[in-house]
Structure formats: structure tokens, C-alpha cells
């Protein structure tokens, strides 16, 4: 009887493993979205440590508000010369930049998405919030133990400065641990490692270490004081609020 039970457990395990193996790239992308955008909203404080190719370090502080997988507001709080600079990401590829010195918002044209935001190694596109399943097609390159290596490319109609991105994700939670992005010439331009933490029922990126391969610089974005589901109003994610600093 115990032998029969053992066979049953073994068969179940193999079957469930096969099921995970059998996930299509689209299903994997959907799983990623489900985990990453599980909270209805979140607010966090970010510390950005920028290191140039010579090892010189600069620090920025920011507050980030996010609602679902569609809206994000990012506003620098320090140093004083940068305080108030803000970036708003909205659905349909809409992005706005606010520079307090000019006192007005400016829409970010598609071609500027590959520009670094305020001297960091994150481009506007990197900071844009968008769901993977709705923006990319995938192709599984490799599966090894708990690791899935997925190549994603922008879907037709999606503007991206990256021709493809190789995402290494953990099969246990479907969270990306590493991303490598390539330009249209096929050259590696960005590499990021993600360290995830769990708070209650939700995962969040405790640290994202973004490296700009061409510049030889890097930025570590460290999240602190993360709050989930505080019922953020849609009004926060408006140009009206963006320009109010």
C-alpha cells in the first residue's frame, strides 16, 4: 500500500512538473504580470545610487506611486537641484516629464524613450509601466531547474528601443531575476538584476541593479517603505497632479 502511495506521489510530481514545463511563453508572461502587478496599488520610496565608469557615486531619492500595471508616477525628492522632477507613465505609451524649472509638463516623444531619465541608467522606457503579456511576444530559450530563460520581443504596434530582451526568471514565483536588453543592431545595451522581497501577500523589487553596458555606469534602485493597496486615487496619475509640486 505504501508502495502504491509512493508511486502516486511520484507520478503527481512528475505530472505537475510537466505541466510547468508545458507553459507557453504567453502563459509565462501572463504569470509574470499576475505576480508583479498583483497589488492594486503601491507606494514606495526609492534610493538610487548612480555609479559612473570611474566609480564616482551620486545618490538620488524619489517617491514612486503605481496603480495596477498601467500607471506610474515617479518624483525625485532629493537632491535639491533635482527635487520635483517627475515622470508620469500612462496607458497607450503616454509619458510626461515635469521639470519644475519650466513649470509645465512635456510629453515624452517616442524617440526619447531610450534617453536616460535625469542622469540615471534607467531610460524612460525602463521606468514605463506596462504589462508583459500585452506588450511582448516570447520565446523560451532555455529551462534549467528553477530557471526559465525567455526571449521577449515587442509586439507589432509597441514602440520600444530594445529589439529583444532576454529575461531570466524563477519558475517558482515567475519573477524576473535578470534582464539583458539589446538594441536594434543586436548589441547588448542594458543588463539588470532584480532582487525580490515579499511583504505580506505581495512581491516587490527590493533592488534593481541596472547597468548601462555602453556607458559603463550603473544605478542601483533600492526600494524602501513599500506600502500596498492604500487606495491611491486615479487623480494622482494625472498631468494635473504631475505639475503640482
Amino acid at each position: 500500500m505504501r508502495f502504491v502511495l509512493f508511486l502516486y506521489v511520484l507520478a503527481s510530481t512528475i505530472w505537475s512538473g510537466d505541466k510547468a514545463l508545458a507553459l507557453t511563453p504567453e502563459e509565462i508572461l501572463r504569470r509574470m504580470d499576475e505576480v508583479m502587478f498583483q497589488p492594486g496599488d503601491q507606494t514606495s520610496n526609492a534610493r538610487m545610487v548612480m555609479v559612473d565608469r570611474n566609480g564616482n557615486e551620486r545618490v538620488r531619492e524619489a517617491t514612486i506611486w503605481q496603480k495596477g500595471g498601467e500607471k506610474r508616477l515617479f518624483r525625485f525628492t532629493s537632491p535639491a537641484s533635482e527635487a520635483g522632477i517627475a515622470f508620469l507613465s500612462l496607458p497607450n505609451d503616454l509619458m510626461y516629464l515635469y521639470l519644475p524649472a519650466f513649470g509645465r509638463e512635456r510629453r515624452i516623444a517616442a524617440h526619447l524613450k531610450n534617453q536616460n531619465f535625469a542622469g540615471t541608467d534607467f531610460t524612460y522606457e525602463d521606468l514605463e509601466v506596462r504589462k508583459y503579456a500585452e506588450s511582448f511576444s516570447g520565446n523560451i530559450l532555455r529551462q534549467d531547474g528553477n530557471i526559465i530563460v525567455l526571449e521577449i520581443r515587442p509586439l507589432p504596434g509597441i514602440t520600444s528601443e530594445y529589439s529583444r530582451t532576454v529575461v531570466t526568471l524563477n519558475r517558482t514565483n515567475f519573477l524576473p531575476e535578470k534582464t539583458e536588453s539589446y538594441d536594434r543592431g543586436g548589441n547588448l545595451v542594458k543588463s539588470a538584476t532584480h532582487t525580490w522581497a515579499r511583504q505580506g501577500a505581495f512581491w516587490y523589487p527590493q533592488e534593481i541593479h541596472m547597468r548601462d553596458v555602453r556607458r559603463g555606469s550603473s544605478t542601483r534602485m533600492i526600494m524602501r517603505n513599500v506600502r500596498f493597496n492604500t487606495n491611491l486615487s486615479d487623480q494622482i496619475f494625472t498631468v494635473r497632479n504631475l505639475t503640482s509640486f
Partner: protein, 445 residues
């Protein structure tokens, strides 16, 4: 109800310390500009109410010592001034969730073009620094914005009191002065004028504006209307009187009355992208309320042939025909990070009346290096054409390269130049002997 994005806090004090020094390359390297500015920004916010103020405390210019008695005053030696740029209260969700109110001294955003906004005639122009075109003065205003749709808003502004533009100081002080053509054989001895400000009540001095702003087909657009007054005065009467008729040529005094005529303005603007290029445009169509007729009175020219009592001459200074000012521009960032901004402007804000608008091509090219630590703007400036029939004799060139070092947080050091050339009577051509080198330092806190 609106939920504030930022946490309520105590009084927030931000600001910067700026020193801006300019020296003429000619004129025996006289000092062209000396400004040391403490720029303070105060804000206090609660969930729905925000108070904002911006104050400049400045040591500006060089002292004027009219005699030894003037040395007894530090203010003569170290001239300074206090300028309340803005002081207003903003109520978000005033009367209704989607209605915002701003009341007090404020700068009002109007138009979408980059820096030069032909439709923005609400705030008076601050021309004090002739090299800082586009700077505006804060204006006492009641400013209501109704966000009636996620992508549309309607704004109404009421400015109860008229404020004229303040004119440039220093070597550039005369750049907006009108030329007065005297009859042959006469030269000017003394000039004086009387400024007729509109009556200081709720109607005569008031300016009103409305703006509908929205987002259509990936493009930010707005249309606007303003009923206001010209910010630079126009003369309506000139009295010419004898000063010394025995001199050859005879010398005369001129006294004129100047005023600020009314106009209606209809404006439209847009900002969007075409392919990978950012584009914008803004146009303002002005409808002067009345013809401005200049009456030149020669009746006080006793002893001269044209000095017949009662004799005067009328000339049309500003027709009530509508005239247009506009700007179109584009910007593009090349893959290597070089940023290019090009604008074509038809009509500076002081160029009034149909056919009196000059054309300006403005270009800026910049690139950051070393992680934004160094900003180079090697190509910045423009070309002005005052008369397309004879551009060789009616043009101006201005070149304003700059380098900024931002290697230390909160500190910016700059060095640059203002280089002018040109021919004819347009204002920039008049600067051709006023090339400058500039050095600045800015510290934020």
C-alpha cells in the same frame, strides 16, 4: 475627493543661490551685468490647499554714486531689491472635485511652445534682463481650471489690475524705445513723456482669458482667448516745442503721451510628435480694439516755419487690422545623445501691427557628457530677418554658446558668451557692439 500624492508636510523651503556675471568684450571690458540672487521658494500643503511663494532677494547692478553724499548710503553702493515673484493659494477640488482655484500673485502657464509663447499675454513680460527673453512677472490673478474630462480642461483667468512690462536695465535700457523722426533741420534737445495707465478699477485695468486644453490623436492642443492690453506703451500725442531756434540745426524738446491700447487675442497651440520628432506650434491672432493715431503737435514751435499755431499732423501708428504672431518648432535627440531644438518665430511680442513682425530662426544643440556632469551647448542662437526684400541690410545674428559643469550635486557652474552681429534697425542688430562673456554659479538647496 482628491487624494494628495504627496504627504502633508510642514512649510517646505527650497531655493537657490545664483550669481550671474557678464563682462563686455569691448567697451574696455566694462561690467555688463552683476546679479547675485537668493531665490526662495516656500510652500505649505495640506490635502487640498497649497500655499506657494517665490521671492527673489537680489544684489543687482552696480552702484550709482551721484556725489559724495551718496557714499553715505550702502544702498547706493550695493544696490539691492526684493521681488515677490509669486505668492498664491491653490485649492484643489474647489466647490467641485474637478475644479482647481489659484488666487494671488502667480505665473500662469499658457501655450505649449517651448519658451517663446506668443499666446501668453497674461503675465507681463519681465524684460529687466535683456538676455532672458521669455521671463515673465507674476501677476495678481484669479485662476480657475475645470477638469471636466480626463483629457480636457477649461481654464478661466481674471487679472484685476494692469501691469505693464518692465524694461531692460543697463546698456540694453533703450532697446524698446521708439525712434521719433523729426522734420528736417531739427534735432532733439530733450525728451519727456507721460505714461497714461488705465484706471485702476475692476474693468479698465482688467485682463481676462479663457483656455480650452485637451489631448487629441496623440497631440496636446489648446485654444485660447484674451482681452487685454499691450504691455509696452504706444504714443498717441507728441508735442514738439522750441528749445533753441537760433542754433543750427534748431533744437527742439519733445513731450509725448503714451498709453497701453486694448486688444482681443485668439490663440491656438499644439504639441505632439511626427515619427520620432517632437513638434509644436503656437499662434496668436491679435485684434487691436481701435486704430492708434499719433497726433504730432507743432504749435509750440514758435519762430519756425512749421510752428503755425494749431498746426498738427496725424499718422496711423497701429491699425485695428488683425495681425499674427506664431512659432513652430521641433526637437530631436540623436542616438548619440545630441539634442537639437529648432524654432521659427514670426513676431516678437513687441512687434505690433500688421506687417511689422520680423522672422527669427532659433537653434539650440546640446549634449551631456560624463553622466550629465558636463553639458555642452556649442550651438545656440539664431538669425533675425527684419526685411526679406533686403535681408543683407536688415538682419541680425546672435550666438550664445554655453558650458555647464554639474559634477557636484546641487551646484552648477556655467561659462558662456553672447555674440551679436547684424545690420539695420532690428533690436538684435543694435547689440552688435555689446558682445559679452558670462560666468555663473548656481547652488540649489
Amino acid at each position: 475627493m482628491i487624494i494628495a500624492a504627496e504627504e502633508p508636510a510642514g512649510v517646505i523651503l527650497r531655493g537657490e543661490l545664483l550669481t550671474d556675471q557678464r563682462v563686455f568684450t569691448g567697451n574696455e571690458n566694462d561690467w555688463a551685468w552683476n546679479e547675485n540672487r537668493l531665490d526662495l521658494r516656500l510652500s505649505k500643503r495640506t490635502d487640498r490647499i497649497r500655499f506657494n511663494a517665490n521671492v527673489w532677494l537680489r544684489h543687482l547692478g552696480v552702484g550709482y554714486i551721484g556725489g559724495t553724499h551718496a557714499l553715505q548710503s550702502r544702498d547706493n553702493i550695493y544696490p539691492w531689491n526684493l521681488n515677490i515673484r509669486e505668492a498664491y493659494v491653490e485649492v484643489r477640488g474647489f466647490l467641485a472635485d474637478n475644479l482647481d482655484l489659484k488666487i494671488g500673485q502667480q505665473l500662469i502657464n499658457w501655450g505649449t511652445a517651448d519658451f517663446f509663447n506668443p499666446t501668453n499675454m497674461l503675465n507681463s513680460a519681465d524684460l529687466e534682463d535683456a538676455m532672458d527673453f521669455g521671463r515673465k512677472n507674476g501677476t495678481l490673478a484669479l485662476n480657475l481650471t475645470w477638469f471636466f474630462h480626463p483629457e480636457w480642461s477649461l481654464q478661466g483667468v481674471y487679472i484685476p489690475r494692469f501691469s505693464p512690462a518692465n524694461l531692460p536695465i543697463g546698456e540694453f535700457g533703450g532697446m524698446f524705445h521708439s525712434q521719433i523722426a523729426l522734420p528736417q533741420g531739427l534735432i532733439l534737445h530733450q525728451y519727456s513723456d507721460n505714461v497714461q495707465l488705465p484706471r485702476n478699477n475692476f474693468t479698465e485695468g482688467a485682463t481676462v482669458g479663457a483656455r480650452l486644453k485637451g489631448f487629441v490623436l496623440g497631440t496636446d492642443i489648446s485654444i485660447s482667448y484674451i482681452y487685454g492690453r499691450e504691455q509696452l506703451p504706444l504714443a498717441n500725442t507728441v508735442f514738439i516745442s522750441s528749445a533753441n531756434i537760433l542754433a543750427a540745426p534748431a533744437m527742439v524738446n519733445i513731450n509725448s503721451n503714451v498709453f497701453f491700447p486694448r486688444y482681443h487675442m485668439a490663440g491656438a497651440d499644439f504639441a505632439g510628435t511626427i515619427g520620432n520628432v517632437g513638434v509644436w506650434g503656437e499662434a496668436a491672432l491679435f485684434f487691436p480694439e481701435k486704430d492708434v493715431v499719433l497726433t504730432t503737435d507743432f504749435s509750440q514751435l514758435h519762430g519756425l516755419p512749421i510752428g503755425t499755431p494749431g498746426m498738427s499732423q496725424d499718422s496711423l501708428l497701429l491699425s485695428d487690422e488683425p495681425f499674427l504672431r506664431y512659432i513652430v518648432g521641433f526637437d530631436y535627440t540623436f542616438p548619440n545623445g545630441i539634442y537639437l531644438n529648432v524654432q521659427y518665430l514670426h513676431g516678437f511680442f513687441h512687434e505690433r501691427g500688421r506687417g511689422n513682425q520680423n522672422d527669427y530662426l532659433l537653434v539650440a544643440l546640446e549634449r551631456s557628457f560624463f553622466g550629465n556632469r558636463l553639458l555642452l551647448r556649442p550651438l545656440a542662437g539664431g538669425i533675425a530677418i527684419a526685411n526679406w526684400d533686403n535681408p543683407n541690410e536688415n538682419h541680425a545674428l546672435f550666438f550664445t554658446p554655453e558650458i555647464f559643469y554639474r559634477g557636484i550635486d546641487n551646484l552648477e557652474l556655467g561659462i558662456g558668451a553672447f555674440i551679436f552681429d547684424g545690420k539695420g534697425s532690428n533690436i538684435f542688430a543694435g547689440f552688435r557692439h555689446l558682445d559679452m562673456i558670462t560666468v555663473s554659479a548656481r547652488m540649489s538647496f
